[in-house]
């Protein structure tokens, strides 16, 4: 696998796995508008994943289409960061995950508009506008819950605390130095941009930055928690039960 192919899969997987998690909220959200919001964010992410998987197929050159990457790979062949596969928890935990992810995703797509790869740069142009709306949505809930009642504040802080140990991965990936050197990936200052965005959001929401010593990583390398197994089992069940089915 080339470095570029793995990079494309990492971000396709990040989008697809999070989309699946958000889809699990539909009909369970606190209000109808929220069902629609999660559904639409999920669709945007699936759209981004589709473009990335199609491009991965071109990079790989073995005739694989987007469905191959979504449905016919196992958990160790997924390269998403750990945070996106974490269970939804309560609504506040989902918002915490989404906020932390969206701060990263916006910084990533913004940086990638300058990629030397025309396909990735083009997708980044669209994806960054979409992600800007995702982040505004997540941050408005973060603030609403953080500055709401005692109960909502406590839950929002708990959600944030629970997700914090997965945030180490939200920055430049160490084994992508070669891609960075040739300008295909432009994420050198991603961590600083992420830190700044998170700091602003937490301050506005009266939340404190969690002080968590444990940090999990390995998702970008295919080393996952058991949560991904369950998620993929659900996501891939129809495709695998009815191989080649069309509708």
């Amino acid at each position: 696998m080339t470095d570029l192919l793995r990079h494309v899969l990492r971000h396709g997987d990040r989008a697809l796995v999070l989309a699946q998690r958000l889809g699990q909220w539909i009909t369970h959200s606190p209000e109808l508008e929220q069902d629609m919001a999660f559904a639409n964010i999920s669709l945007d992410l699936i759209g981004q994943a589709r473009y990335l998987y199609t491009y991965a197929g071109e990079q790989e050159g073995q005739g694989h289409d987007e469905d191959h990457f979504a449905y016919w790979r196992g958990p160790t062949e997924f390269y998403n960061p750990l945070i996106v596969e974490q269970p939804n928890g309560d609504f506040a935990q989902t918002i915490a995950r989404q906020f932390l992810h969206d701060c990263y995703a916006l910084a990533y797509w913004q940086a990638m508009t300058g990629s030397a790869d025309a396909t990735l740069a083009g997708l980044a142009e669209r994806a960054r506008s979409e992600t800007a709306f995702h982040l505004r949505h997540a941050r408005s809930w973060l603030v609403r819950l953080g500055t709401g009642t005692e109960e909502s504040h406590a839950r929002m802080q708990n959600g944030l605390d629970a997700m914090w140990c997965y945030t180490d991965e939200l920055g430049p990936i160490s084994d992508e130095a070669d891609l960075r050197a040739v300008g295909l990936v432009r994420d050198g200052d991603l961590r600083a941009v992420w830190e700044a965005a998170v700091k602003t959001g937490l301050a506005e929401a009266s939340l404190v930055r969690p002080d968590v010593e444990v940090a999990h990583s390995g998702g970008w390398q295919g080393d996952h928690s058991e949560h991904l197994d369950e998620l993929l089992e659900e996501l891939q069940s129809v495709a695998r039960a009815h191989r080649g089915a069309k509708w």
Partner: protein, 198 residues
Amino acid sequence: MVRVGDFDIVVDGVADIVGSVQDPELPDVTIGDLGMVRDLTVVDGVADIVGSVQDPELPDVTIGDLGMVRDLRMVDGVVEVVLVATYTGCPAVEQIREDVESALGEAGYSSRIRFAMNPPWSTDMITDSGRRKLVSVGIAEPCRVGSTDPTVLIDFPVSCPRCGSRRTRRRAEFGATACKSLHTCERCREPFEAFKPR
């Protein structure tokens, strides 16, 4: 390639034939090289057929209105259409592909349809007639984004498509589709959707 209206259009190699005419005074330089070809007649009505395909989720609004047709060309008798996807996850994409194919099919053309991402679509590409149609079906039109930073969302004023009041409030970031948000008019009290500018 030549620009006709909103489309870049090439007709069965005609552009090549015209464009490769040599400039009589400059050796090896063609009139194409000099950018002297301004216009070539399009194959009868193909642009109209493609442009008037309806968006399946926006009543009366066509993909031409939305500025989704990026390129049309005839290659060996097949119409090649390049459409711009409005949103990466727009679920209407497959429907639009089928509708364009069948509209061209009915007119006797076989076609190949491709969606492109680069350069990306923006709501600024929606035509004036498209904007009027949106308002007429109760969807507020997006403001022009121009070259503003797409990562910084500004709370632009949204005019109520029913009474025109600017005293409106955003109720939800996402409407029935990802491209729209939900609003309420403070004056006529009606809820409505707005096309998100970006």
